[in-house]
Amino acid sequence: MRKHYSYLIIIAFTWVLSSCEYTLEPQPVDLLTDELVLNEPKDVANVEVGLYNAFRDIMPSTIIAGDFTADNLTHNGTFSQYRELGNKNITSANASAAALWQSIYSTVYISNFILEKLPTITGVSTTERNRVTGAAHFLRGYAYFIALHSFGGVPEVLTTAIETNRNIPRASVSDINQLIIDDYTAALGKLPDVAPNAGYSSNYAVRAALAKFYLYSKNWAQAETYATQVISSNKYTLEPSFKNLVLKDFTNESIFEVGYTITDDPGTDNNLGLNSLFQGRREIIPSNQVVVALASAESGDRYSSITFNSANLAGTDNGWSVAKYGTPDQDNNNIVVIRLGEMYLIRAEARANQGKITGTGSAAEDINVLRTRANAPTITSATQNQMITLVEQERRYELAFEGHRWYDIVRTDRAAQIMPVFNSNWKDTYNVWPIPQREIQNNPALADNQNPGY
């Protein structure tokens, strides 16, 4: 009997020792550690997808920023961050501002990670190396472009050094502009001319972004040049019907858009999908002013950006909904970053500001391309000032709910005229969003450097 016990004890001990490693060193499942994530050629494509995944999170927030901070959308729900945006009573604690900031720097982190780590990996084909490096530069540049115009001069983060980046001050506007142009320049030529699918970056997407960059910089000649390069490349064609832009992904005029499938809807902060905000909860609805604008004759078919349902009419609810991005069972939830229509608008604005009002090669010619497509009356004559206003209106019709309005009226200094009429709480403070409070709290170098008025 005693013998048997000793066997048992020996067996027990063996079991204990052999299970030690099993017990104490379980391997994470479906997760990769830092050391393993990018160290051989086959990892490159995975990290590239990760970069696009991070970048696409920026886009729903830019729609909130671009349309909701301005006069295209009003609040019809219960969440306080949207109430603040709707009531023009934005605070530094606003969760939408925090979400946009975070998505920008997540993109910057992966870009920096790729730019630091990819050169050390051997065996990657030149095409792939160029493509991924180009995308890292382009998307980082675009992220900073959004950051600059949403928050002003933001911290210039160009490494993955955690300790440095925990305590990093704001850079000047000109530094960030330089960073953007450097990144775009670095990307240009490395990418394929046209991506296999508009969900990925391309040289023409960079050129389109450059056109936008120079438009915002009021460098009209360069803006026109780059817009023309894209338009006359004939790589993209206008959709015959504006409705397609509302209802479809990957239209023929899409230069760059972020891709979602039916299973991953565009999330915003709090994980609320854009289509939940616009359609499901109807937390955010088109403002009366944008409804009037889109319903005008000049807007034409662009009226299809919104829909009406009388069942929704009640109290402050005007019954209108944003039709773009659809419902989750309609797979049209991609968000367009840049499309050909915008190139015409950029060129029109650049031309108008250079005095090219009507005739061949004029602003009117570009506007009329879009008017004709929308079955709206064309423009025959206008003064320069009238044309600049016409372009502003045209941008509102054409680009409604694509995240432009606020950025447009701020860069043209028109917000101070337009916004107080829309909402008397408006003040110049809202020309930029606040630096999110949590960033100021957790980054000592940002202390006392909030945007004025917040």
Binding site: T33, Q81, A93, Q102, N112, N165, S276
Partner: protein, 1004 residues
């Protein structure tokens, strides 16, 4: 008491002669064992003759007249009887009032109470036997000093927060370690889906009727052998076992009704319409244009609370069989509980069974198994922070709408009378969806005990706690999610998820026990392996052909799904040595070493030592008192740990992410290889005193605990690419006093005893890595958040603006402009209160007269604040017009000169509704937690119907609450389980009142 055969009568028998020894027979019974108490040892004073009672409590022994019989049995008072030729000696053993000899299970061994050196509270099942309890942790409320139990809501099977001596951690768990028959079990919420804040409760799978006793280990010494996971206290649950007796069959039935404790008073249609028109007018809008027409809009007046509330039925049945002989003992039971919630369609059902067997194969070798199994079906409804919740929906919904149409059908999204966002018909939201969480739980422990000799004993066990949760959810096209919110469901919405968690445990403990003269030594040495594998999966479907198809196989789109696996483990070695000299001076040293998989190489192992000592002054020769029977001083010092935080946080990790139909990887966690155990240093001092032969027993404890190296999710600037990283920073202090006293006031024909316990805990964050407060809880309006975590404050601190009143001239709220910048911004916010009570406790009075017994159990909490966030919607000064308002809105400011505390209503303006101490209320309460009356049928009667005992009882829970709190219930917490944001009432269902009748029968 007639049944007491008064021994004293015998003593008065007239004469006795010394006679030759003869065989004397007798029978021993007790109140609990009226058919005979087996195992009682009988000895005759001054001789070595002795006997033990058999299964019927009978004995026979050689004795001669004049000799004294000594009857002794564990847990009972020792009795002496002089033999004077009685034909039969009948003795009724009394349970010992003084619990000095009570056996207390501590860690991996057990000890008699008089020998304890640490802080341990025992709760026996008879303290909660009549109460209608859903889960075993509920039974602890008010029963033990230092244990604060808060039920998060009145939902059956819902979450319960148990905190022992305060919160020790910010981001790691604060839940005590629960050990059922030696097996650590899963705690907290099991559900994978949110129901608006309220979780379910893993402990509701343990049937309170199968529990014999609960021990709560509170200080470092008592917890030493669980040290690695013991920082939050340890709760040991011992299930009922058989003992050497005749087969004992017990049947218990309890049935009752369940009602909400309080109904919030809301405006009716006309009152609300007047208010909304006023709000719009104040905002410069035309109320007619908004469609608010008197006589039309208020044509319907629905009391939504009446529509969704019901009187629930509670029923519970329990059958148990127990018994044993010299070598085998067993306890078998089967139970069923069915509790209907007070909200329509809310129901909790549990089937449970247990099987505990122990067999002694040889005098040295014993094998046994404890097995508890349960299956529960929890029919849940949404609540709290869900617009489409049932109770939350009923509070918010406008009375202008009706739940049913003229044909009596539930109004849904396709009906014309549907109020729509954010007023979804709460009746439909209750009745139509299917949220069924079915859970299987098995706690099994197989053990062997080998007694080498009188000194050495080896105990080995292998056990499992297995929990299998399946959640079956379907929301039809007539509900908010399934129908109205086309962005989510559209045509029905279904989710099915499962989670299987096993806690596997194996340990071996070698015990040593030796007494040499006055030196008593016990020691143990053990090792343990724990593994916790968990696999889970979930799938979501939408676009069902019709509401007749409710399972995901019929879904048009199956668009989200996943599965996962995670595993963690712990390896430990522990040792304990105890020494006492003459049961006067006690010394204990305990030590545990652990290695946890949750920390990186180099940081896995931590050591948890503990030392304690006790001095029983009353055993000193210089101490002589007729009054003080026992006086003991105890002290302990030691370390405990906490590793209950997410896995793999020491590694930097990338996770799979989708883009455009492909998948790649993106960073998910910034690793911190330096992470290590959270450590709590604990000190405890205690005094136990027992007076008047045990009629007054009291314990006073005081403690000072400091948790260092907090496992804390440090917020990072997003410029790093991450928003947080886990690190060991900060420290928290808990100090407090606990007092308990039990008295036997009367024990003649009329019996009266009292138990009182009062506790006070002071929690303070001593250090955090940053002076910047962290926001917690909900987002505030006009403030950063409802709660903060800040150095110098306690956990659970509320912040807000300082509301100074309503300006009689304008009707607007006046807030204190603390920074004097002329603006009211979140820079003006300040600490406005704390959810932690200054003092809490309970007092119970038990009365007995003849066959009646009455128990009155009050429980109280004093000095805690409740943030009545419900008011943020239901007394919102017009910031939105989508919610009904409470009757307090009738006090609103209406014209200049009005003196009131409710600001004027302005549609769409939230200034008057900023988060401020206007929403904060005193949450102190005194509650008649339980009142129960029992009656034993006379044995004449029970004998006739072949019953050994029959007891009928009536019991009422939460009968009366005294409080100044204006909301539904001060004892709620919408963020179930939260530490930083406790005590928030946000559309939280109040506790329920249960009134029940029961019957308990023991078969002959």
């Amino acid at each position: 008491m007639l049944r007491l055969l008064l021994i004293t009568f015998c003593l008065f028998s007239l004469f006795s002669f010394a006679q030759t020894a003869q065989v004397v027979t007798g029978r021993v019974t007790s109140e609990a064992e009226p058919n005979g108490l087996p195992g009682v040892s009988i000895s005759i004073k001054g001789t070595d003759r002795g006997a033990i009672t058999d299964q019927d409590g009978r004995f026979s022994i050689q004795a001669s007249a004049g000799e004294t019989f000594v009857f002794s049995f564990i847990g009972h008072q020792t009795q002496e009887v002089i033999y004077i030729n009685q034909p039969l000696i009948g003795v009724v053993m009394k349970e010992s009032a003084r619990e000095l000899s009570e056996v207390v299970v501590v860690g991996y061994s057990s000890v008699e109470r008089k020998d304890l050196t640490g802080a341990v509270t025992s709760v026996k099942a008879d303290k909660f036997r009549d109460m209608s309890l859903n889960s075993i942790d509920q039974a602890l409320q008010g029963q033990a000093p230092g244990v604060q139990v808060t039920q998060s809501s009145g939902t059956p099977g819902g979450g319960i927060s148990v905190r022992i001596r305060g919160n020790t951690s910010i981001n790691a768990s604060n839940v005590p370690l629960y050990v059922v028959d030696g097996i650590q079990v899963e705690t907290g919420t099991l559900s994978l889906s949110s129901f608006g804040g309220q979780g379910d409760n893993a402990m509701s799978l343990i049937n309170p009727n199968d529990v014999a006793s609960i021990q709560i280990l509170k200080d470092a010494s008592a917890k030493a052998l669980y040290g690695s996971r013991g920082a939050n206290g340890v709760i040991l649950i011992t299930t009922k076992k058989g003992n050497k007796s005749l087969t004992r069959i017990n049947f218990d039935i309890q049935r009752g009704i369940v009602d909400p404790t309080k109904k919030v008073q809301l405006l009716n249609s006309t009152q609300l319409l007047t208010l909304q028109r006023e709000a719009l007018t104040n905002a410069g809008e035309n109320p007619d244009a908004a469609g608010l027409i008197p006589g039309v809009t208020d044509g319907v007046n629905t009391d939504w609370l009446d529509e969704i509330f019901r009187r629930g039925l509670m029923q519970q049945y329990q059958l148990s069989v127990s018994g044993g002989d010299d070598n085998t003992s067993y306890y078998l039971s089967m139970g069923y509980r069915d509790e209907e919630g007070v909200q329509l369609n809310n129901r909790f059902q549990r089937f449970s069974t247990s099987l505990n067997v122990e067999r002694k194969f040889t005098p040295k070798f014993t094998v046994g198994n404890t097995l508890v199994m349960a299956y529960s079906m929890n029919h849940r409804v949404k609540g709290d922070n869900f617009l489409d919740g049932v109770y939350s929906g009923a509070l918010k919904s406008l009375p202008y709408y009706a739940p049913y149409d003229e044909q009596g059908r539930i109004i849904g999204p396709s009906s014309p009378g549907y109020a729509a966002f954010p007023n979804f018909n709460p009746v439909g939201q209750a009745v139509l969806p299917r949220f069924l969480t079915s859970t299987v739980k098995i706690v099994s422990n197989f053990y062997g005990i080998y007694k080498f000799n009188s000194d050495f004993l080896l105990r080995s066990q292998v056990g499992i706690d297995y929990t299998d949760v399946a959640e079956d959810r379907y929301e039809s096209s007539q509900t908010a999610i399934g129908g109205y919110l086309s962005s989510v469901g559209g045509q029905g919405y279904g989710v099915f998820s499962t989670d299987k968690i096993a806690n596997l445990l194996a340990n071996s403990v070698l015990n040593y026990n030796k007494s040499i003269d006055n030196h008593h030594i016990t020691a143990l040495l053990g090792g343990e392996i724990i593994q916790r594998p968990e696999i889970s999966g979930s799938v979501q479907g939408r676009l069902f052909p019709s509401d007749d198809f409710t399972y995901i196989g019929s879904a048009g789109i199956v668009d989200q799904g996943g599965s996962g696996k995670i595993r963690s483990g712990l390896m430990s070695a522990f040792a304990e040595g105890k020494y006492n000299l003459n049961e006067k001076y006690y010394f204990t040293a305990g030590f545990r070493a652990d290695a946890s998989s949750r920390f990186g190489p180099g940081n896995r192992v931590a050591y948890f030592p503990a030392l304690s000592a006790a001095w029983r002054i009353s055993r000193e020769s210089f101490f002589s008192s007729n009054v003080i029977e026992e006086l003991k001083l105890r002290g302990s010092f030691g370390y405990t740990g906490n590793q209950n935080y997410p896995d793999f946080r020491f590694l930097g990790l990338w996770a799979s992410v989708p883009y455009n139909g492909t998948t790649g990887v993106a960073p998910s966690i910034l690793g911190n290889p330096k992470l290590q155990w959270e450590l709590t240093r604990e000190m405890n001092l205690g005094v136990d005193i027992s007076l008047f032969n045990g009629r007054i027993q009291s314990t006073l404890e005081t403690y000072l605990n400091k948790t260092n190296k907090l496992l804390f999710r440090v917020p990072y600037a997003s410029t790093t690419g991450f928003t947080s990283v886990w690190d060991n920073v900060g420290s928290i202090q808990n100090k407090g006093i606990e007092f308990s006293v039990s008295t036997i006031n009367l024990d003649q024909e009329f019996k009266w005893s009292t138990d009182i316990n009062i506790s006070k805990n002071i929690n303070r964050i001593l250090y955090l890595n940053s002076d910047q407060p962290l926001n917690a809880g909900y987002a505030g309006e006009g403030t950063t958040s409802t709660n903060i975590v800040e150095k110098g404050q306690a956990l659970g601190t509320f912040i807000g603006l300082n509301f100074l009143g309503v300006n009689p001239a304008t009707g607007d709220a006046i807030y204190e402009d603390r920074n004097k910048d002329g603006k009211i911004t979140n820079d003006d916010q300040m600490v406005i209160g704390n959810a932690v009570p200054k003092m809490y406790g309970a007092f119970t009075n038990r009365f007995g007269y003849k066959n009646f017994e009455l128990s009155v159990f009050f429980q109280f909490s004093y000095g805690n604040s409740v943030l009545n966030l419900t008011k943020n919607s239901l007394l919102n000064s017009g910031s939105d017009l989508t919610s009904n308002q409470t009757i307090d809105a009738l006090r609103r400011w209406q014209k200049p000169g009005d003196i009131t505390d409710v600001p004027r209503y302005i549609a769409g303006n939230n200034f008057n509704n900023y988060t401020s101490n206007r929403l904060l209320e005193d949450g102190s309460y005194l509650r008649l937690k339980n009142l129960s009356l029992g009656y034993y049928l006379p044995s004449k009667l029970t004998n006739r119907i072949l019953l050994a005992q029959l007891r009928i009882y009536a019991s009422a829970t939460n009968l009366i609450t005294f409080t100044k709190y204006t909301g539904a219930d001060p004892e709620v917490s919408t963020l179930d389980g939260s530490t930083t944001a406790q005590g928030i009432d946000f559309f939280t269902l109040p506790q329920v009142r249960t009134i029940s009748l029961g019957l308990n029968a023991t078969l002959k």
